[in-house]
């Protein structure tokens, strides 16, 4: 199972929102689409879900062009919208039952029970949605998205508003869900994206750029007690001066860290602070400049 978007564009009146979005995602992987607010992430998701039409471009499922407005396509999709719309006057089970009916699932009771367990809503299934916390509402949003066993799961900011423990649970749930389906998500929490996503696309000015972390090499930021020279560390990996006392060194081998200490000692310079660089964060910031 795979999904690919090629040259998707969309304009509202004269404003171009998407200008050639390319993206591919496949089963067993979690694909992320990140970008600033208003970059077009939700628009891209809405196009995939058939909620709006693209101006141009193609959407392919298993290499076949799909009509995103067809009922056949919509049966394949599970969608958690950005603000997680729910009928708050309904009870949890009732809402999931409505979701089953809309997805035309026969024998929905069994499936509702399974899904409730899957997302950890066992103790809240008989409660009215309006009385639940944001975290549990988010779980209901996830439950309705997966209740019909969709082949493609689109999650627009699935972890927004969750506390750290809920975050860990939902993260592992998403990982599990990706085993037998295509999962595409968006989030503003870049560290989370790095942890759970296999492919990352950065959306800027309506176009996507596939993020690559330079062949998996990590970089370190090091602050010294006095200005260092690049030549002392060049043999360890690609080195850049950040400011007078600070360097960024790409760790190209397993013992790169030891080599940094050795080079510092050899040149009589003290390390004040040493931390891993967030590559995705840098890439994201650079892409937006």
């Amino acid at each position: 199972m795979s999904l690919s978007l090629s040259h998707i564009s969309k304009s509202y009146d004269s404003q171009k929102i998407l200008d050639g979005v390319d993206l591919s995602a496949k089963k067993g992987e979690v694909t992320a689409l990140i970008g600033k607010n208003g970059a077009g992430k939700t628009t891209t998701f809405k196009i995939i879900c058939g909620l709006i039409s693209q101006g141009s471009g193609e959407l392919k499922w298993n290499d076949e062009v799909v009509d995103v407005h067809s009922m056949k396509w919509k049966k394949k999709i599970g969608y958690l919208a950005e603000h997680n719309p729910l009928y708050s006057n309904l009870f949890v089970k009732e809402f999931l039952s409505l979701s089953c009916d809309l997805n035309r699932i026969p024998s929905s009771n069994k499936r509702i029970s399974e899904t409730i367990i899957e997302v950890g809503l066992e103790n809240h299934q008989r409660k009215q949605i309006k009385y639940l916390s944001k975290g549990f509402k988010q779980r209901i949003g996830l439950a309705q998205a997966i209740i019909h066993n969709p082949q493609l799961l689109i999650l627009d900011e699935p972890t927004s508003g969750l506390d750290p423990s809920q975050l860990i649970e939902i993260r592992s749930l998403i990982k599990n869900l990706s085993k037998d389906r295509v999962v595409i998500l968006s989030s503003h929490i870049l560290s989370e994206i790095e942890q759970i996503c296999n492919n990352i696309y950065i959306l800027k000015e309506g176009r996507t750029v596939k993020y690559s972390d330079e062949n998996g090499h990590e970089a370190m930021r090091i602050i010294f007690n006095r200005p260092p020279k690049i030549s002392w560390f060049n043999s360890i990996g690609r080195t850049e001066i950040i400011n007078n006392h600070e360097l960024s060194i790409c760790l190209e081998t397993k013992n790169s860290k030891e080599k940094i200490f050795d080079a510092a000692v050899a040149n009589g310079i003290k390390i004040i602070e040493m931390r891993m660089e967030n590559n995705l964060e840098n890439a994201f910031v650079n892409s937006q400049e």
Binding site: L51, Y79, P85, D101
Partner: protein
């Protein structure tokens, strides 16, 4: 469609305000029919429901737009439309689900109004001696009127940005088709067949014919045209709002 239908019906009966508003409409109707002296059947002295059938269109003028004022508007306002239409649900099915649920409530309203029919049935000087054919055709007339108002109300809601706007537009449109052409046709400035033609475009003139127990093809064509046109544009507007 079934899911939307049952959800809308259950939401209606879950809301005490909405159920009370139906009760209020029935109460007002019965006050007109049995209590207020100028319109009371008891003061009128004849065992017929013509007063009932002339009052119901004006009750419907408020009741039906209030039933449909949150249709489309509410779901698009609170983002539920994204959720609903990401499912295998077409705009036609969405519209049908809402319309059928609204018609079910209107049907219940009319069933409850049968109490008036049974009352005059037993109040007639010879029990049961009332014009049944006239009553059946009048009931048919107000049922068709309910269909027209429903189509108009869903159309008004489909183009409105908020519920009060939808309600107002709906009342205005319903009132326009109910009485305005007939009112204009009474003006002395019209020449030739203009008054006759204008009357044709007034729902109350067709209801009047039906209340006499006559079902004319031209009336049916007029009702059907309004229902189909407004329904068609309501569905088109939902599709437009989605894209």
């Amino acid at each position: 469609m079934n899911a939307v239908y049952f959800h809308t019906i259950s939401s209606f009966f879950r809301s005490p305000f909405k159920v009370l508003s139906v009760a209020l409409f029935i109460l007002i109707l019965n006050l007109f029919l049995w209590v207020i002296p100028s319109s009371s059947i008891l003061d009128f002295g004849f065992a017929d429901l013509s007063l009932f059938f002339s009052t119901v269109p004006f009750i419907f003028l408020i009741f039906i737009p209030s039933l449909f004022m949150n249709f489309v508007v509410e779901d698009f306002e609170n983002g539920m439309s994204d959720w609903l239409f990401s499912k295998p649900l077409t705009p036609l099915n969405y519209w049908l689900g809402h319309v059928l649920s609204g018609l079910t409530i209107i049907f219940l309203f009319l069933i409850l109004s049968l109490s008036s029919y049974f009352s005059i049935y037993f109040l007639a000087s010879n029990i049961g001696e009332i014009d049944h054919l006239q009553i059946i055709s009048s009931y048919f007339g107000i049922w068709v009127l309910a269909l027209v108002f429903t189509a108009i109300s869903t159309f008004a809601s489909s183009i409105s940005k908020n519920q009060s706007g939808a309600f107002l537009l709906s009342v205005l449109l319903c009132y326009f088709f109910l009485a305005i052409p007939s009112f204009i046709s009474e003006l002395p400035i019209l020449v030739g067949n203009a008054d006759y033609i204008l009357k044709y475009f007034s729902l109350d003139s067709h209801l009047e014919i039906l209340s006499r127990g006559i079902v004319e093809m031209k009336s049916l064509i007029y009702f059907a045209t309004l229902i189909v046109l407004f329904s068609f544009f309501a569905i088109r507007n939902i599709e437009k709002r989605l894209r």
